[in-house]
Amino acid sequence: MVTSLINSEKRQVSIQVKNISKRFKTRKNITEALTNVSVDVKEGEFFCIVGPSGCGKTTLLRILAGLEEQTDGEIILSWHNPERPLSTMVFQEQSAYPWLTVEQNVEYGLRLRKVPKSMRRQITQEWIEKVGLQGFEHHYPGQLSGGMKQRVAIARAFANDPEILLMDEPFANLDEQTKILMQQELIHIWEGNRKTVVFITHSIDEAIMMGDRIMMLTAHPGRVKQVFDIDLPRPRNIAEIRANPHFAELFTGIWGLLKIEVENARIQNGH
């Protein structure tokens, strides 16, 4: 079950997480969210993180994005081309600006980076089409469904063309059909450009379908439980991959471990 992809061995390291800990101080007590998390994410790798709710997955991603600061430890990110942004995040909740049209939302990152207008428009149009929002360029998010709004946020992140893409359960709030379509779209887009992706999900299925590797965090406070290699062939197809006997094997193995953590999390919450 745990075998490595040959090409992933040779790749350079994109993100080095070294002994990251995060403690939140409230007035009364100190809560430990992450404890000694260490992992290397390789260049061009689709890296998934799973773990029970409250294990600090999102906190880790926010630390990687620079939206929050770790209490201890170090993160080393390799930044090859300073003309491109280092990382861009896709958030779990609705994050398209309601006061900007679809087009203005998608080009927002480019506008902040002062990319010339003609180039901006071209990139924006390309991504609007890739996520299937053509014809909605001048609509406001208020006129779109939840799935379409999330596609705006995804297009905004991709159009920004970062070296590292951070995705925090981007499909968690979508209905099942839209989710499957979006997963397939994301796999397709990623297999086309092979960015480094750190992808948080609470769905083992999703992690196996999308990822090259899966890191499982323990129940609160989050520690690395295990890292799994997903040696399923690419290009992947959402509909077919479930039928792969190895898929079921991976699922059973991962769920066996995750179940223990989920139960631990429930015991903690019971106190």
């Binding site: 939206l67 942004p85 861009t88 600006y97 309601p98 902040l112 406001y140």
Partner: protein
Amino acid sequence: MAQAFEPPAMPANAHQVVRAPGAVTGIKQSRLSKATRDRILQIGSPLGLLALWEVIVLAGMVNSRFLPAPTQIIGSFWNLASTGLLYLDLKASLYRILMGFVIGVVPGMVIGLSMGLFPIVRTIFDPVVSATYPIPKLALLPLFMLIFGLGNLEMILVIASGAIYLVLINTAAGVLEISQIYWDVAKDLGASWWDRFTTVALPGALPLIFTGLKLSIGMAVLLIVAAESDGANHGVGFLIWRAYDIYDIKQMYVAFVLLSLMGYVFTVVLNEIERWLVKWRNV
């Protein structure tokens, strides 16, 4: 088992509930559309009130000296308008209101946005705003008269002092109401503080900014009457005080109508600008 499904017969004593158009809304389909009906009612209700007013006064049920009939007020209006006095009054008041509005609203918005955006600015300004906001703006009038003398400046500043708070408080609240996710997105995409000011704080707070603007312009109309009680030679507020001095109550009513028209026009204009600027809200 392969029997055709037959619906059971309805028991003889069961009631039937029929849902037809109009059954839920309670509105029978009529010849008038809802919009047309509302328009007729909107125009009809004030006209009906005016007619009732006219009848009550003409019937001698009230003292027409204190409550002149609408037709008498219109007569007085034409008298004042034909001498050109009304035009001067209107012009003088509009100038003071608009100047005071702009002088109050612009810093109000800038301070309000800064308070919403920067906790340090909020910490500094919050006690000052809370302490000075409750001072009745009219109480400042005599002070401003002493400092700036009788004239336009003193009146403009009283109006500005009324406008600034309402815009400032609403703008700051508007910025604070913006969901954290939108700040995170801006930060993640590398927005500078100026970017956050112009692309998140300002558009996000705009709906509440407009609430503040509309309250301010109402406050300006309210303050102009008191401000023009002294030191003015023209003005709609001045018209009221002059009418008081010469005991011509019909003229007072002319001023009342003008004030209410002014307030109405300001609100309509602001609503139109809002609809245009805050397009995303009405889609």
